[in-house]
């Protein structure tokens, strides 16, 4: 009993000093996932980064170069579990080490063309100019680059690029990047606030534009914590999980940061721009590498027809990702696919490739097919279907020189942001370089901001917000069984809506239906059943929060897709199959009204410097 | 059936009873064994930490002598098996390395080169591969005597090198124990390490490991613990008193070499298998 009382006394003291814990919390802090000084509440961070993927950790290292700044990375898992880890191909940057004829201009042009001219060209120039330097820097940080004879890292050519410019570690470029950055963070003493699910960015002031800090749930204890910060960098990754099993993204790609950003007034830019990779396993969306088609695997429908002959007579399976993805979707839609529902697919036939070569060059593909689909690809075809691979859209980065959003003190970086570098379609190996370049930029930008500003947030408001979430936790987790649908039930319904009505192909009537369906789901979400009331590592509650975020993201995707009456890059409208530069050479900006919660769309012109839009042909 | 025997250092020294019982058992089973002439220590899982290539070359020499005898190699020690099989796996896989090592052998005046023609197998594996060897020979079935079958580490791991049965879920020693008429018991510590190789560097922890294994076998009601590895045997037998102290246990369990247990089932006496040379639980063995 006395222990409990002293616990409360301690928390009160803590609230007064710095970190804010929801009143009435009575759970002991378990372990060191949160730094001691945060627990004690005697720290206000200068730069608080949400997300521990490539962008987050790169930003942290940049910000921490200013030795007297207090920098921390908050993450809902532990570091190194991020989507960045999964990137395979490499990171682009013009260095000329493997091809001296490569130029920054060429990288710029490839990126813009790949992005179907929806890129802001000044941002792409900034990006391409710095991408090379970041590769050298990673070398100095200890990145295990595959080398060439002269001792330089080797660069290889990726799809859509006119020169080899992607540096890499084996086929695990992202994994090596994340671990290199993590080791640097450890040695440089960066604070990690691990296993804390970010719930809200707390704001105050008349116009609600004064940053207080971040509200999160410490998963270990169930305590709600408010961490005061002068600046926040949102680096929480993409939102592929709106398509749930039809994505190659990790479970954690649920758009948490985008929703938190929208809630404080940052617009969601180009949400409809989602990249679908053509060859995910039908069983679970896990990616079968691009090299499958490069090595000669053929796509066949249920009648055994090699249907790509119809859609791309010359290139056939070697046509670009979007063309192949659309072809597969069409075959399935028109009844020539195999299997039912979300698991429907077409055959990818490797038997035309000698078994020896499959073993040699497609070991990973063979392994995944065997494991998840039970198929030996040297003997029989495996079922595949498009899978959501990357989110081009994200929180608007208002100034790419600093990484800032339009809300003072809040910065964005990585897949959760939209710079716009990728436009309507991202090129291979540009995502890791984006993460490095703009992680670095945002880290510098936030650090500069923190140096110029004093903390002017409201600790009271931070405490109120904590209490609000605590109440919500108690209410949500105490709902009785049968009070409504379960979280996975609502999620599956959402995925059905998103996959069939706002997936590879979109059209007006279906998108309208999707809007209605999502509204109904949002209603159901309000009284859904979570089923776990424990305060200790309540992953059921975490999934409830993530679902709430995914529903909002879905809503924005549908709204953006509905308004964009053209087809461009990752966005394909059946009713508007052509690109329309006259009307849509502009970005969608979806704002969330902070009072009503309604979404509203605005548009912003694409920045063109010297590359006039042309038809995109490969 | 003839094997080139790699006895290993401890069979020449502290575990001499393992050698005498092996000879007697092999004779009864009709397995001909001939010691590899002038063999050297396998490196005892330590030499490669000093100089990897030297340890490899020494084992290439050992194997090449057996190859010249035209026999597969039989080992009776887990660590020797691992060291020799690791050397063989590396030399067989890597042509350049094999060439380098053969050059070393040649310029040092060793008469044979490593070819990769002799397989390396453990006494236990031979009995598992050829259960018929025991048919009609078990004159003294062990009558359901409860035995803890303790594999030790190096006969199971790493799987790629050792590759006999499933290293994560081995069952072959239990099978053999059953065949001998005894009853294998499940004990919690059956896959724990005895700690022999770290006895000096981490003595306190190793003694706890030793004590726990013996205590665990005792809790399971085992009347003896049997192991295919003389190093495990030495650790568990010689340090049994200290082990007991470390985990506050009263357990006294006879620790048998595999060939001793087989010998008892084949009709040899306790004395014939050299049980009198054991340090612990002298009066607890109710066999032979």
């Amino acid at each position: 009993m006395s222990k409990e009382i002293s616990r409360r006394t301690f928390i009160k003291g803590a609230a007064a000093a710095g970190v804010v814990v929801a009143a009435g919390s009575y759970f002991t802090w378990n372990g060191n996932n949160i730094p001691e000084k945060v627990k004690k509440g005697d720290i206000t961070y200068d730069v608080l980064i949400i997300g521990s993927g490539g962008a987050g950790m790169r930003a942290a290292l940049a910000a921490a170069e200013n030795k007297n700044l207090k920098v921390a990375v908050m993450t809902k898992l532990v570091p190194t579990r991020s989507a960045s880890t999964m990137a395979q191909g490499g990171m682009n940057g013009v260095t000329g080490v493997s091809d001296p004829t490569d130029t920054v201009e060429s990288h710029v042009f490839d990126t813009i063309k790949g992005g179907d001219y929806l890129c802001d060209q000044d941002a792409v120039e900034y990006f391409a100019e710095r991408a090379g330097a970041n590769i050298y820097e990673m070398d100095y940080m200890g990145y295990p680059y595959n080398r060439q004879k002269d001792g330089c890292f080797h660069q290889r050519k990726m799809g859509g690029h006119s020169h080899p410019r992607a540096s890499y570690f084996e086929d695990r470029a992202g994994h090596a990047m994340v671990h290199t950055l993590f080791e640097q963070c450890l040695e440089n003493g960066i604070d990690f606030i691990s296993e804390c699910q970010m719930l809200e960015i707390s704001m105050s002031g008349e116009k609600n534009d004064q940053l207080n800090g971040v509200i999160a749930m410490d998963m270990r204890s169930g305590n709600l914590i408010g961490v005061p910060a002068k600046s926040v960098i949102i680096a929480t990754g993409g939102y592929g999980r709106v398509y749930w099993i039809r994505t190659s993204n990790p479970y954690s790609s649920t758009g948490d940061g985008i929703v938190a950003g929208m809630n404080v007034g940052i617009p969601f830019k180009d949400p409809e721009m989602v990249q679908f990779h053509p060859t995910g396993l039908s069983a679970n969306g896990v990616l079968l590498s691009e090299s499958s088609r490069a090595e000669g695997a053929q796509l066949k429908n249920k009648n055994g027809e090699r249907f790509m002959e119809k859609y791309a007579p010359e290139k056939k399976e070697l046509a670009t990702r979007d063309i192949v993805a659309r072809a597969i979707a069409t075959e399935i839609e028109q009844g020539r696919g195999v299997g039912e529902g979300i698991h429907a697919g077409v055959y990818m036939d490797f038997t035309v490739i000698p078994a020896e070569r499959i073993r040699e060059r497609l070991g990973q593909v063979a392994d995944l097919s065997k494991r998840f689909a039970g198929v030996d690809i040297t003997k029989e075809p495996v079922l595949i279907a498009p899978t959501c691979h990357y989110s081009m859209g994200g929180l608007e980065m208002a100034d790419f020189h600093t990484g800032e959003s339009r809300v003072p003190g809040i910065y964005v970086a990585g897949e959760c942001s939209c710079v716009s570098v990728h436009g309507a379609n991202r090129l291979g190996a540009n995502s890791l370089s984006e993460v490095l370049v703009f992680g670095h930029t945002a880290g510098d930008g936030a650090a500069a901001y923190a140096k110029e500003h004093n903390y002017a947030g409201s600790q009271d408001k931070l405490a109120q917000d904590c209490q609000k979430w605590k109440d919500r936790f108690e209410e949500v987790t105490s709902r009785p069984e049968g009070c409504g649908k379960t979280v996975p039930e609502i999620r599956d319904a959402m995925v059905n809506t998103m996959w069939y009505k706002a997936g590879v192909y979109r059209q007006e009537d279906q998108l309208n239906q999707a809007t209605q369906e999502l509204k109904a789901l949002e209603e159901e979400y309000k009284h859904c059943y979570v089923g776990d009331s424990s305060h200790v590592y309540n992953t059921a509650f975490e999934q409830y929060i993530e679902l709430g975020n995914l529903l909002q993201i879905s809503h924005a995707i549908v709204q953006g897709a509905l308004a964009r009456k053209e087809s461009r890059g990752g966005h394909s409208r059946r009713d508007f199959p052509k690109r329309d530069d006259k009307n849509f050479l502009k970005h969608t900006l979806i704002f969330k009204d902070q009072k009503t919660g309604e979404y509203r769309a605005e548009y912003k012109d694409v920045v063109i410097t010297k590359y006039q839009p042309k038809e995109r042909k490969y | 059936m003839k094997y080139a025997l790699f006895p290993g250092c401890v069979l020449e020294g502290a575990a001499a009873e393992a050698y005498t019982s092996l000879k007697k058992v092999c004779e009864k089973l009709g397995i001909e064994i001939e010691e590899i002439p002038n063999w050297t220590c396998c490196g005892a899982s330590h030499a490669q930490g000093v100089d990897d290539l030297a340890a490899l070359a020494v084992n290439a020499r050992n194997i090449s002598i057996a190859e010249n005898m035209g026999c597969d190699i039989m080992t009776v020690c887990n660590t020797c098996t691992l060291q020799l099989r690791t050397a063989k796996a590396r030399l067989d896989k890597d042509e350049k390395l094999r060439e380098k090592v053969n050059n070393i052998l040649k310029e040092s005046g060793h008469p044979y080169e490593y070819k990769g023609t002799s397989q390396i197998t453990h006494f236990l594996w031979i009995l598992d591969d050829h259960p018929e060897l025991l048919d009609g020979k078990i004159v003294n079935p062990l009558n359901g005597y409860k035995v803890a079958a303790y594999y030790g580490c190096h006969i199971l791991r790493p799987q790629e090198v050792m590759d006999h049965g499933d290293g994560k879920h081995p069952e072959y020693m239990e099978r053999l124990v059953r065949k001998l008429g005894a009853e294998p018991v499940w004990f919690d510590a059956n896959r724990k390490c005895c700690g022999f190789h770290a006895q000096l560097a981490a003595e306190h922890d190793v003694l706890k490991a030793t004590g726990e294994i013996v205590d665990s076998a005792d809790r399971a009601g085992a009347g003896a613990l049997v192991t295919p590895c003389p190093l495990c045997q030495m650790q568990l037998d010689m340090y049994e008193p200290e082990g007991r102290e470390a985990v506050h246990s009263q357990a006294q369990v006879p620790i048998l070499h595999l060939q001793q247990l087989v010998g008892l089932a084949l009709g040899l006496t306790k004395e014939e298998v050299g049980f009198n040379r054991h340090v612990s639980a002298q009066d607890k063995l109710k066999l032979g």
Partner: protein, 318 residues
């Protein structure tokens, strides 16, 4: 066909084993099974996962006593291996458990910090122009760069199971081996010294780490590489190193181990003297006779040459 999963639960200081039965489908991994249970049977079952393609390291658990990545191991294969329709699932061993299958990584990160886990580049390199390294130099550590920090290697580590305070996790040794073998680093000794201080020689050599690594990294081999490096860099003044050296030297001295002298060489004469009761015990049963003269191999000259020539060749290599 159904499988029964016996899952070790731990919630707010309560511990129990809970059984769940579910049908086994094609391609069903342990992670898929756990997810189905959480979604359809019991929302309170807790575990972590992220990438489900064996690269993020979030989902390692113990199945029937062996660490596995839940996202890559098929239930069907496990049932075959253990010849059973019941599988026991526990959190990783040698970790503190937070809830159910979720374990505490913080102490592990603190241990990684001990070895100074980054490359400290040589003076000729810079952040602006990067570093230089030949493909051969890269090959020396590239395999070790594949660690995904899943924790499987330490789950059944025998040394860690008895005492974690004076030893590291196998994955930390892997990281250390990676850096000390990276030609970009200016002073491998700095990392190496930290590793020796943190218990390098206390490894039991049980090979559990190598058996459990889902990425085939061979942490036990990495530990051997680190040991080898300590000799090359003169960090060999400790019991473990002296013991290894004594065994190594015996090969050149006589061809086989001279057990009666090993302890003296490893621990020094006086420390070994403390083991006198043990020696007496051994002499009593005839296991040790100090008067026996250790025999010398007839081909000792050849053996010595082999060791010398190999040493010369490995020096050349480094």
């Amino acid at each position: 066909m159904d499988v029964k999963l016996r899952i070790h639960r731990f919630v707010e200081d309560k511990k129990w084993v809970q059984d769940y039965t579910l049908p086994v489908t094609v391609g069903m991994t342990v992670l898929e099974a756990l997810t189905q249970i959480k979604e359809h049977q019991d929302p309170t079952l807790s575990f972590t996962c992220s990438c489900r393609s064996s690269i993020c390291g979030a989902c390692a658990v113990r199945v029937n006593g062996n660490a596995e990545l839940a996202c890559e191991i098929l239930v069907e294969n496990l049932m075959k291996r253990y010849d059973t329709d019941e599988l026991t699932i526990e959190p990783l061993g040698n970790f503190r458990v937070i809830r159910d299958l979720i374990v505490d990584w913080d102490p592990k990160y603190a241990r990684i910090k001990k070895i100074k886990p980054t490359v400290h580049p040589k003076a000729e390199f810079s952040a602006e122009e990067g570093c230089k390294q030949s493909p051969e130099e890269f090959n020396k550590f590239k395999k070790l760069a594949g660690c995904i920090l899943c924790g499987s290697c330490v789950s059944e580590c025998n040394k860690n199971s008895w005492n974690q305070d004076d030893f590291l996790d196998p994955f930390v040794f892997v990281k250390a081996a990676k850096i000390t073998r990276d030609s970009r680093d200016k002073d491998p000794k700095e990392h190496l010294k930290a590793v020796v201080d943190a218990g390098l020689w206390r490894c039991f050599n049980c090979q559990e780490c190598t058996a459990k690594c889902p990425k085939g990294l061979d942490p036990a081999g990495a530990i051997e590489k680190l040991k080898e490096a300590t000799f090359k860099m003169g960090l060999d003044d400790n019991v473990g190193a002296r013991h290894a050296k004594a065994i190594y030297d015996d090969i050149s001295d006589s061809g086989t181990l001279d057990e009666s002298k090993l302890n003296i060489k490893s621990e020094g004469f006086f420390a070994a003297g403390l083991r006198a009761p043990m020696a007496l015990r051994l002499m009593r049963v005839g296991k040790m006779n100090p008067l026996d003269k250790h025999p010398v191999n007839k081909e000792i000259d050849t053996i010595r040459k082999i060791v010398k020539n190999a040493e010369a060749a490995s020096k050349e290599e480094n």
